[in-house]
Amino acid sequence: MTGPSPVERLAAGLLTRAARRWPDDLAEVMLESWIAELATMRGTPVRMLRFAGSILVAPPVEEEGADPVTWGSRASSAARTGTAALLTVLVAATLFNGVHLALHHGGPLLSAAGETVLVIALLTVSALLMAGAAARWAPRRRVRATLATGVAAYAFLLAGNEVAVMPFMGWPDIAPAVVTWTAIAALTTVAAGRLARTGRHRLAGAVAVLGGLLSVVAGTAAGALHAAAVLGIPAATAPAWLPLALLPGAAARPGFDVLPANAAAMAGPLLLCTVFLTTATVRAVRSAGSARPVASRRAGATARVPRRIDPVIRRADPAIMAGAITAGVVLLLADLLPRLSPAAEHTASRLADNSAVFGFGFLASPAARIALAFALALLAAHHATRPSPAS
């Protein structure tokens, strides 16, 4: 009898991965039965991979008594995650641009030290707002939320540079920044989760905070490397680029006038997104520590998956109404306000041309406004179908 071929080993690996998503009481039995079926398909590699791939990508059976996980519920969950990630990035960018605008208007009245204090105070308030948002709307699947936030940040930064006022804000700058940030943030979330599952909650919290910090420092450095190479700034100064980007006074240093301003456009929103995700992870780690010593993977899933919607709400009328009204109001305001008020028109055009704030250039496109309205509609619909805490 010959040993398993590489394809059989790959298919068995896929099945092992799939079995992890099945309820604990079934995972082992199902994996054994799948491996047995796989053994009868030797010599037909495509069939083996199709068999394993189908089980891997299809929704696993639900926990006993829970609602089935369907492709529809998966799509709805993905839409919720994507919408939440997009809104997290938009809120983070809005807050950071608020800090930037306050410095722009208040800076001339303050000393250099006063400017620094103002920025630190406003960044602290923004971070507290993001942390508060994470406490209220913490994502349940944090690794997925981190990856979705990375995608949303990339799309936001790339689309936001419609009017290219920033010299180093193309994909060679944004992609390394966002990829580095996303990879470190996601690995941090995974590591913190694993430590928490083994009962090391304090260490998990420390890893979440330090990993979050590292993700922003490394993301900023990766995003500014291209600019630094062009401007002749030594890469060895990279660890200083984040504080220089966030705090005023960098322009006083020779050679550092363009790089920090450019890096700030990426580092600011990423920093506040990190605060949001890190808070969510630390809260999850803490609640895992206080609720159950070393809970099983599926015990967590039981609390997660069977979110039953009230039968009346299941008809979706409130969701459709809330979503449609929100989308309508957003689109109406976006279209009407600039026509009714010259000040609003001026603000809208400054939003889109990146001259006052950076990153909202995409609002110049009607398609992007529709997409934003749709995202807000989805959020409103999600809240309309959210079961009350008492239910």
Binding site: E32, A36, A39, S54, I55, A58, P59, V61, G65, P68
Partner: protein, 109 residues
């Protein structure tokens, strides 16, 4: 035990098992008989087993002699067979009615 939700894949599996009610069935064979992919079939089998319509057991073989691991066999229970017959018959009746009736014409409803 909760009744399984009667979806098309559930009906296909029930019909395939009814077609050869005395035999035990295994995954790949049911995939062939129903045309369902493995990712759809196995959750259906678990739901039917939870509902008490199906029982499963390991194949009694010596894996070393056979050169392969033992399969998981599935068989309809008496209750499952009775319920499945009713559901499949009801579905077939519905399909026959739908196929046999002309579509309503405008103004005749």
């Amino acid at each position: 035990m909760a009744r399984p939700r009667m979806t098309t894949p559930v009906l296909k599996v029930a019909a395939a098992m009814l077609a050869d009610i005395d035999s035990e069935h295994y995954g790949v064979q049911l995939m062939r008989d129903t045309g369902l992919p493995s990712g759809t079939l196995y959750p259906v089998l678990v739901r039917l087993e939870r509902a008490g319509w199906v029982q499963s057991r390991w194949e009694q073989i010596d894996p070393v002699l056979e050169g392969r691991p033992a399969r998981r066999y599935y068989v309809l229970t008496a209750e499952g067979a009775a319920e499945a017959r009713l559901e499949v018959a009801a579905f077939q009746q519905q399909m026959t009615r739908a196929a046999g009736q002309p579509f309503p014409q405008a103004g005749t409803a």
